[in-house]
């Protein structure tokens, strides 16, 4: 069976949904950030698949941009987490609801 664009899109969608469900269900802020990384990675697969579909490497450039954004997001997110942990001694988002109440 020939692998078409749809196969790659389906794979990316399953991965994105996995990350989304993990982000909603997990309460550990570090694992939530890892789920965001998984979702970003699935978007990268879509970019690369469409790049191959059109036989044009422009999508690869945007994947590289996405790498930079993912790295920046991980650095900032983890810095915030470390600071929260320093003050509250927890990274469980159920305990971090000062802005919610």
């Amino acid at each position: 069976m020939e692998i078409t664009l749809t196969h790659y899109l389906l794979l990316a969608m399953v991965l994105f949904l996995t990350g989304m469900v993990g982000f909603v269900l997990r309460r550990n802020a570090i694992v939530m950030l890892m789920c965001v990384e998984l979702m970003l990675c699935s978007v990268n697969i879509v970019f690369a698949a469409f790049s191959r579909f059109h036989a044009s490497a422009d999508g690869h450039v945007f994947v590289l941009m996405n790498f930079a954004v993912a790295a920046a997001e991980a650095a900032i997110g983890l810095a915030i987490l470390v600071e929260i942990f320093r003050r509250r001694r927890t990274v469980n988002v159920d305990d971090l609801k000062a802005l919610m109440e």
Partner: protein, 171 residues
């Protein structure tokens, strides 16, 4: 051959993602996520993007996940042992929505009228560092320069957040 590799890499990557979500320990989650990213590098290689495959290993599976593991190591203790029994939402939307989305996608695939076949064989050197660099430093030079500002802001932000507040220069 491409079909077999796609199914192997794809299914293993989905397994890695699922295990990332399901595992209770953050360290085990991180290791499964590295596994998923290595499989993603295989997918990139299948998509005629060798440079992206290398960068996926170097940047994602290497740098970013090492950062995660490092933070988990710093925060180790009773905090990461387990999560509360109570979940944020009832479980059923989380279980019901993904299969529905897959059904919609498969229905769209069955109903399709456009071409979904990949373009024919790509030229020699497609997706190689030279090819991508030509685009990055030519057509997309402005975006390439701007992304460096994003990284600079991230560096300054991470330093400012992580630093002791009393020692900040503007205090």
């Amino acid at each position: 051959m491409e079909g077999i590799l796609f199914w192997v890499c794809g299914l293993l990557m989905v397994l890695g993602g699922l295990m990332t979500v399901v595992q209770r320990s953050a360290v085990v989650s991180a290791v499964w996520l590295i596994f998923a990213f290595v499989c993603a590098a295989g997918i990139f290689a299948l998509l005629a993007a060798p440079f992206l495959a290398v960068m996926q290993i170097l940047v994602y599976a290497g740098a970013i996940m090492v950062l995660f593991l490092f933070v988990i190591m710093m925060l180790q203790g009773p905090v990461l042992e387990g999560e509360r029994k109570r979940l944020a939402l009832p479980l059923w939307p989380a279980v019901a929505v993904p299969p529905m989305a897959v059904v919609v996608m498969v229905a769209g695939y069955v109903q399709r009228d456009g071409v979904t076949q990949m373009a024919g064989p790509v030229p020699e050197g497609f997706g190689s560092p030279q090819h991508v660099a030509g685009l990055l430093l030519g057509k997309y030079l402005l975006a390439f320069e701007l992304i460096s500002i994003v990284l600079l802001v991230a560096i300054i932000g991470a330093l400012a957040i992580g630093k002791d507040e009393r020692k900040l220069p503007w205090k």
